[in-house]
């Protein structure tokens, strides 16, 4: 981005030190294409799930404008049952978000967490949508923006949408499609199916499909591309000079190129580095929204909305077994945004202060080596 050029200069040194696998002359860079321009690429199943989340999000945003959210519609959209979508092709699709959602153990949000938030969004909005105040669920406005929060300032729409981006899209990329089960040496990379490539190629393309980018996306043109989900949020890091978009795209292209050329060393290197670069999307976006919530601390609508976004991106960090942040540190960051209800912790944004927001930000920036840019992301 030209407009950030001057600002970028300061960040270049840092950017090269934090992305450990910068392209080197030995890499395939001289020959791998600059864009995701391969033959036999099909990720229509991922696109369908991205579209499903878009319709689910639209339903969840209804309370922002004073229309109650429908519990059955949301749960049906999550599971793709009973033809809930306006887009008929989604109803007839065999794809769904729920079956691909993380549902294992541990601390991260699971299928039942998301269903709980959908149910509560419906019950709260059906109970009434007056003005939000601390302790009272309702709508808070700022300028032309309006958001529906629970009594603790939590915007379920963000928790669910950004949370599912983590628990479905990121989780599928980090734990399924860049792992041996889908791209290991035992996976067929010989039999080419027209339009889909080999099994191994197809699996990698499916990972790419969850990103929400375009095949033409580069670090240079990201401002002009129509991006969704994590691809859209990767811009936050790139805007701050971290080349987040370019780094993620480079590894996606490298992996596919290596698979097609049967260079499995590079494939494995790309898979590992992709997970690292992709993880930075969550970290940078979380910091971006923490900064926003500090800047708008006196504005209930903007503060709660941005903390909800930040919290959901922090929670998303869970869905990668190789994550750079330790479980202890991650729980510590989450605790800045939660209260203990006697045995279980729930998000509550009434007790945050500028000081605790800064502590959460500093913890993330230290873990992810983002200290130099933490105030400008």
């Amino acid at each position: 981005m030209k407009k950030h050029t001057l600002f970028l200069l300061g960040a270049v040194v840092f950017a090269s030190s934090c992305t450990k696998d910068e392209p080197t002359p030995e890499d395939t860079k001289p020959t791998q294409p600059a864009t995701y321009s391969f033959t036999n690429v099909d990720y229509s199943g991922q696109t369908a799930r991205l579209d499903m989340l878009a319709e689910l999000t639209a339903e969840m945003k209804k309370p922002n404008t004073g229309v109650a959210a429908d519990e059955a519609v949301m749960l049906n959209m999550f599971a793709n049952e009973n033809s809930p979508f306006a887009d008929g092709t989604l109803n007839s699709s065999t794809k769904q978000l729920k079956s691909k959602c993380y549902d294992g153990g541990g601390s991260p949000m699971t299928v039942s967490s998301f269903e709980y938030y959908m149910t509560r969004l419906a019950s709260l909005s059906n109970a009434g949508m007056g003005a939000w105040a601390p302790g009272t669920a309702g709508i808070a406005t700022s300028g032309t923006k309006a958001y529906f929060f629970d009594e603790n300032g939590v915007e379920y729409t963000q928790i669910i949408e950004k949370g599912l981006m983590g628990a479905v899209f990121y989780y599928q990329i980090a734990e399924t499609y860049t792992r041996d089960g889908k791209i290991g040496d035992a996976v067929d990379n010989e039999t080419v199916t027209d339009g889909k490539g080999t099994d191994m190629e197809h699996h990698w393309d499916e990972a790419f499909g969850y990103f929400g980018g375009t095949v033409d996306l580069t670090e240079a043109n990201y401002a002009d591309q129509s991006l969704r989900y994590h691809a859209k949020y990767a811009k936050k890091g790139s805007d701050a000079g971290l080349e987040t978009v370019g780094n993620v795209m480079y590894q996606f292209i490298k992996g596919r190129y290596s698979i097609s050329n049967k260079n499995y060393t590079d494939r494995d290197a790309a898979a590992e580095q992709l997970r690292k670069d992709y993880e930075l999307i969550m970290a940078t976006t979380a910091i971006h929204y923490i900064n926003g919530s500090i800047a708008d601390f006196g504005d209930d609508a903007l503060r709660n909305h941005q903390i909800s976004e930040a919290y959901a991106f922090v929670v998303s960090l869970h869905y990668n077994a190789d994550k750079s942040i330790s479980d202890t540190d991650l729980e510590e960051v989450k605790d800045f945004f939660r209260v203990d209800m006697g045995g279980h912790k729930i998000p509550n944004f009434l007790n945050v202060t500028v000081a605790t927001l800064n502590q959460a930000k500093d913890k993330l920036s230290t873990v992810y080596g983002l200290d130099a840019v933490k105030d400008t992301i």
Binding site: L6, P134, G143, A223, G298, L350, V354
Partner: protein, 369 residues
Amino acid sequence: MKALKMVMILGSILTLFMAGCKEDNPDNTDGSEFDTNALLNNYSENIILPRYQELATQMNLLMGATNDFQNDVSAANLANLRTALLEAELAFQPCTSFEFGPASTYTLRSILNTYPTNESIINQNISSGGYNLYTAGNIAAIGFPAMEYLLYGTNLTDQEVLDLFAADAEAANRLTYLFDVVSQSQVVAGQVNTQWTSGGYHEVFVNANGTAVGSSVSLMMNSFVLDFERFIRDGKVGIPLGVRSLGTPNPEKVEAYYSEKSLALLAESMDAYKKCFNGVSSTEINGVGFDDYLIHEDAEAISHKINTQLDLIVAKQSILNGPLSEDVLSNKPDVQAVYDEMQKLIVSLKVEMPSALAVLITYQDSDGD
């Protein structure tokens, strides 16, 4: 939107270049380059520092009046305290355009002036006696609006206010709460002032030259424009008028609702805003400001347009009778006229001026969600 900004930037770069060509500059030195350092020095030394100094002074006086009131809950001390509060609120108005650097670090605006205040949270805090005034949940229970609620209440006689601090069952807690909110605002205003004066931010500010994202000109202009758009136009006038509520006025959302001094604060704010644009100090010395920068970049017409429009806003607002909370109900067309003139200023402030000076307005969130 980004593409449009790029076009604007490229356009302004071109303008800058062409302006350079037109200067009397035969020997091709860079003598025509605008001295942003002089501009930054003027803003810091003659405008920002004195304004924060005055705020800190008034906050100290307010704290003193609060102590007197605590020691002797009397009608005279209540009157003094109300006067000190108004003076502090007036002193805050010229500070709102600089919400970057220290003010951003300490969230000065949010702590001092988040309104409307939340009466029930204030009352809960007084009853419980246990609170952290810095939490998000208490942001609408602190600062000037909370002090006003405590010192004026709604439809209370002076004696009834005094009783709440002397005879009421929660009188002691209420006095403590008043002390705590005044103290918090005093501390935060003092921290911001100290950061600028002896904390090293003046040096950081004047040395961050240029107009790129992160430069002082960029930070200041973004804050200056945001202040007008969101906090003066919308906060002081538009939201009470009902522009965000389908035309239904919200009299209780005016600034200084309880003291009914909204118009005095608005007038002070507009006066300070114009002085800031023109680089005029509190002692009326006209130094290097955004107006001079525009003139230098062959954009005198934009500078003139902004000044003319600022005058028009002041002219329209001077017609209002006050208090604003009544004007938005009984005198709506005149308040609408003020808002309309404010609205006309937006394009000059937010598009024409930044474009002419090659500054990017970055405060708008482009997520669309």
